[in-house]
Structures are given as structure tokens and as C-alpha cells.
Amino acid sequence: MGQLASALVTMILGVMGCAAYFYGSNFLLDKIFPTKSGAAAEVARNLRVANNIRPWLFLGPAVLLLTFYLFYPVIDSIRLSFYGRSGEDFVGLANYKWLFSSDEFYESFRNNMLWLIVVPTAATFFGLIIATMTDRIWWGNIAKSLIFMPMAISFVGASVIWKFIYDFRTGGEDQIGLLNALVVFFGGEPQTWLTIPIWNNFFLMVILIWIQTGFAMVILSAALRGIPDETIEAAVLDGANGFQIFYKIMVPQIWGTIAVVWTTITILVLKVFDIVLAMTNAQWGTQVLANQMFSWMFNGGGDFGRGAVIALVIMVLVIPIMVWNIRRANAEMEGR
């Protein structure tokens, strides 16, 4: 109970402190530059000054937080990649040399590429199929809701769920893992799925596909509904069959949305770390960049230089998507 009470107090203080800043700073601004009374010239001047300052009061915390938590660290990571373990002695390109001669890096890079190819493709594909089909049946919304559900589950929770499915029992014991039970049922030999080289990566990817398909489905389903009926009616009149309508009329019209879904999942895949950590702890050839970075950050006291260099690789992979996003957003702003 004591913990609950202190947690409540900390929570309230934290939230109140934040609210107090906005109220307090605006109150002060109005006090220092009063605009409600006084000489007309004075009021006009105050109003102008206050209007110049107020945006920065509103933006202040956000800009500070973004700078401290995202902007400055990106710059500092680049700097640290040229420094040694503790981040104090300059080592030039040593970290980069180490990276490109390290087998573990090639392993995690290869795995990351596999993840990048398989997960966004599979999730978008299943999402599109499910979105198309659920739009046609009366219980489609229930079906969508259930397929969307894994989105709410943490990667660690999902890892437990799937580790249970991949569970392996030795000897003649009954298999309590669903996958091995199925294999045995169809007359096969049970396997320790998570230790089979290369393939174990795919067993981990299944988890993320399971989680992300719902996301793809929701977005694509909305896009499909946005397709003008006339285009489809015209195709039907011209005698197109279901598959032709799907591939030649519907898919091309939502191409932009498919790209958005694809890139969103791609970014997520690059950052995936919890699943590998929880499922295999990067054993049996399942290492990925994000997890490798995490382990260099902490293991054996931590090596900040090497950790930073791996983080940089992830960043470089993200940059094309970032540029594309900014250009898209700019084009949209001009259109407004």
C-alpha cells in the first residue's frame, strides 16, 4: 500500500509540475506585458512583444525535450563512434574497422536483412488480403478486431506466447507446445525449433508478423474503402473478375498507402530487439543489430564506442525513409 501511495504522489507531482509550467509562464507573460489595460501605445507594444514570445513558451518544453532526447544524442552518437570504450579517448576509425571485421556484425546484418525482407512483406501481404476479405462479410469487424488484437501485446508478452508454442519436450513425453504437437500428430519428429540455424530467425519473425498484420490491415482497409466505387463498377461492367479487380483496379489505387505501411513496419523491424532478447538471447545465430547494440552497451561494463557504431548503422538504414517522409510532408504542407 505504501508503494501505491508514493507512486500516486509522484505521479500527481509530475503531472502537476508540467501543467504548472504552462499556466505559470503564461501568467507571468501577461503580468510583465499587460495587454488588458493601460495606454493604447503601450498595449500595442506589449501585445506585439507578447505575441513574439508566446509561441516559444508553448514550444519551449517540446523543443528542449526533442533537442535533449533526440537531436543532441544523434550528434553525440556520431562523435562517440570515434571514441573508445568509455567515450573519452579518441580512437579514430578503430570502431569502424572492428565492426567490418566482426563476424557477429555480419551475422546480425544478414539477419536484419532477412527480417527487413520478410516481415514487412508478409505483414503487408496478409494485411491486404485480410482487409479485402473482411470488407465483404458481415462479421468482418469482429474478425478485424481479433486479428488487430496482438498489436496491444508487448513484444515480451508475445515472446512468451510463442515460446510456449515452440516448446519442446524430450523423449516420449507428450508435447505441450502446439507446433511440436502438430508435427507429432502428422507423424513427424518433434524439433527444438529455436536452435535450428537460419530457420530459427523465421520462427522469431513470425512473432512480429503476427503483431504487425493487424496494423497493416487497419490502414489498408481504410484505404480500400476510400477507393471510388465508380472505378470498380466500371471494371465490373467491363467484365473483370474478382482477381483482376483486386490486382488491376484496387491495388494500384492504394499503392501510396501500401508504401506507407511498408516503411512504417520497416522502421519497426530495424529497431526490433525485445523479441530476440527474450526468445533466444541472440544464441544460435539469431543476433540482430538492435540487440547487438544493446549488448555492447552493457556487457562487460559496456563499450560505448562500439555500441554507437552499431547504432549508426541502424540510423544509416533509416535515413532514406526519413528523407522520403520529410519530402512527403513538405509537399503536403504546400498543398494546404
Binding site: 503564461n26 544524442p73 476479405m133 508487448s154 490502414i219 544493446f294 554507437a308 541502424i314
Partner: protein
């Protein structure tokens, strides 16, 4: 749409395929939940899909200690029941671990030195000996029994108390609630400024926010860890505090929050805001009295996102809150259990269900807002 009201074979195929996919997508979670309420002996010996079937189990129990013996005629007898209240049906029994199913139920088994053991179907047993029983512990009885399905909340009771999940639950709440509210406040003000106030550098800031949307967390971790250690040393308070993790989640959540909210707020009708300005309302009043209430749907969408993201986060909690038992959040605790109690599925399944129950409630309760937020964040 191309919906056809006719019941064509294709329609049936669609129904069947969707049903199949829904089953595949829900079975993993269903299996977890069913397993978490099963008796732990049954859970470890049979698949969860047999939860409703009677299972045959090989078990072992200890008879009562010799001081409970009674003299019947010229023999000394120890009586008891193997099930001690729960249900079951014994088929075979034995007195040594080498031959646990030596005797059929009901038979009087002749052991050495004239001792006998009889076990009945309902679990009643009787050890009998011509001389007085000695020692402080009862003998072991091995038996094979048909145990009916047994469901229990025992697993939950155990993980909540003994495994420290109750505490982690509160820790998770302590992290999540402020880490959801603070970014909303900060982002809403910023989004309003970016949408409706004129100042130099606005376009650049918007572009920066869009750019920061995709910056991988990994880039921030090491520099921030260093900064946190420095700040902690300066104030003499350890680097791992709740305030630290709230601000970290706020910082990482802000780009999406500002982006979502700005997109929404910029779409509010210009006339409302202009006329309020003409009436002499300051930007602060306009924001508080007009924009904030009107933006409720967008605020709710982001709140759900942020809540799910913070509650489900493992990385930031591990880095900025640490792994000591006092501060462990649910995801961290669950990972720890996955390492230390890898084979104890009764513990893992119950723990996992506790960690996912809150997000699932939020998800099913507020799905509408979640979907709206997703659409605003991606399609635009």
C-alpha cells in the same frame, strides 16, 4: 463495392479463409490464457488443447507419518487419502519408484517383512504391518491416476505474491500514467503553436519533427545514459529515477504526438479561432477553451498509443530504470522470469497474462480511437 449478395462458392471460400486466419491469429493468446488457469501438474504434462479432457498422470505422494498409526487387532495400520479432497480416479499403484504401476487398484500388495499396502480407486490407502511403524516420515506411494480437468487461480496467486509481479504492476502504472499525460500536455501546446501561431522558423520545426519521427531509439541510448549518469552525480541522486524515465518516454513520444496533434489542430475551422482572436482572447485562452476540447479525439488517439507503447516498452525501462527488483516493470519482470523460470509454464503463462491484460482492456475498450489515430498518423 463488389459485394455480391448471391451465395456463390467464392463467398463461402472467403468466409472459410477469414475464419481460418482469425483462428490462427487468436489461438496463441487463447492457449496462453487457458494454460494460465490450469493446474500446474496438468499443464506440464499435457497440451492446453486437452484442458477439458481427463488426463492420466503419474504422481507420487507420502503417506501419513507413523505417529498417526492405529492398532487394529494385531496389526498396525496407517490410513489416509492420496487426493486429500480433490477429485481423481486411481488405476495403478506401487511402492517403489522403479515400479510405480506394479499393482492394480484395489489389490492388497504384499511388501516385505509382512507389510501390506492397499490403495482404492478413490484414493484411500492403508499401510498395514505386524510390528509398530517407526521413523518420523511416511512411506512414499506411487500411483497412476485419471485426474479430471482442474482449473485454478493458484498460478496467479503465486506470481502476484511470490514472483513479485504485484509490485511490478504498480511500478508499470507509476511509469505509464505520467509518461502518457506529460507528453500530451507538452505536445498539445507545441502542436497549437506549430498550427496556428506565426513565428520565424515554423516550417523548419515541422520538418524537424517529421524527421525525428523515424530516428531509431538506439541512436539516443548511449549519449543519454552518459548524460543521466552525469546529472545523477551532480544532484547526488542515482541516475535511475521515475522522473528520468517519464522524461525519456516524453522525449521519444513527442515527435509522433506533435505530428498527430498538429495535423488534427491545423484542420480545425479557421473561423472559430479567428473570431475568438477578434474578441480579444489570448492564444492561451483559445488553446485552453477552444482547441483543447475540440481536439479530444486526437488527444485520445495519441494517449492510447503512448499508453500501449510505454506499458509494453522493455528497452527504455531497462536502460533508464534499471533491473533492480524495486523498480522492475512488468515487461522486465517477465523477461527475467523467462530466463530464470524457463520451464515453469504455469508461472510464465500467468505472468504473461497479467502483463497483457491492461493493454488488452484498453485495446478493446478504446479501439475506435486507436484506429483513428493510426489512420491520422499514416495515411495523411
Amino acid at each position: 463495392m463488389i459485394t455480391s449478395s448471391k451465395r456463390t462458392p467464392l463467398t463461402y471460400l472467403v468466409h472459410a479463409t477469414v475464419l481460418f486466419l482469425v483462428i490462427i491469429w487468436t489461438i496463441p493468446t487463447a492457449g496462453l490464457f487457458i494454460s494460465s488457469i490450469r493446474d500446474k501438474n496438468q499443464l506440464s504434462t499435457s497440451g492446453w488443447w486437452t484442458a477439458l479432457a481427463t488426463s492420466e498422470q503419474r504422481l507420487v505422494a507420502r503417506a501419513h507419518e507413523p505417529k498417526k498409526q492405529v492398532q487394529e487387532g494385531n496389526r498396525f495400520v496407517i490410513r489416509g487419502n492420496l487426493f486429500e479432497g480433490s477429485a481423481g480416479e486411481i488405476t495403478k499403484f506401487g511402492s517403489s519408484s522403479l515400479r510405480p504401476d506394479e499393482f492394480e487398484v484395489g489389490t492388497v500388495a504384499e511388501l516385505n517383512k509382512g507389510e501390506t499396502l492397499q490403495v482404492m480407486e478413490n484414493g484411500d490407502y492403508a499401510f498395514s504391518s505386524p510390528v509398530e511403524w517407526k521413523g518420523s516420515r511416511g512411506d512414499r506411494i506411487f500411483y497412476t491416476a485419471e485426474i479430471p480437468p482442474r482449473f485454478t487461480l493458484e498460478n496467479y496467486r503465486e506470481v502476484l505474491s511470490a514472483e513479485g509481479l504485484g509490485k511490478s504492476f504498480i511500478n508499470s502504472l507509476t511509469v505509464t500514467i505520467p509518461a502518457t499525460i506529460i507528453p500530451i500536455l507538452v505536445a498539445a501546446f507545441a502542436a497549437y503553436a506549430l498550427a496556428w501561431m506565426r513565428f520565424p522558423g515554423r516550417a523548419l520545426l515541422v520538418a524537424a519533427v517529421v524527421g525525428l519521427l523515424v530516428v531509431p531509439l538506439q541512436m539516443s541510448l548511449i549519449p543519454l545514459l552518459k548524460s543521466y549518469n552525469m546529472i545523477g552525480e551532480f544532484f547526488g541522486v542515482g541516475s535511475k529515477t521515475y522522473v528520468g524515465i517519464w522524461l525519456a518516454h516524453t522525449g521519444f513520444g513527442l515527435p509522433l504526438a506533435i505530428y498527430l496533434l498538429r495535423n488534427y489542430i491545423v484542420g480545425l475551422p479557421r473561423e472559430i479561432i479567428e473570431s475568438a482572436r477578434v474578441d480579444g482572447a489570448s492564444d492561451f485562452d483559445i488553446f485552453r477553451k477552444i482547441v483543447l476540447p475540440l481536439s479530444f479525439p486526437a488527444l485520445a488517439s495519441f494517449a492510447i498509443f503512448q499508453f500501449l507503447w510505454v506499458w509494453n516498452d522493455l528497452l527504455i525501462a531497462m536502460v533508464f530504470l534499471g533491473n533492480d527488483a524495486d523498480h522492475m516493470v512488468l515487461t522486465g519482470q517477465l523477461r527475467e522470469l523467462l530466463g530464470s523460470r524457463g520451464g515453469n509454464w504455469e508461472i510464465l503463462t500467468a505472468s504473461a497474462f497479467i502483463t497483457i491484460i491492461i493493454p488488452l482492456c484498453v485495446f478493446f475498450g478504446l479501439q475506435r480511437y486507436l484506429v483513428r489515430g493510426l489512420l491520422a498518423g499514416s495515411v495523411k
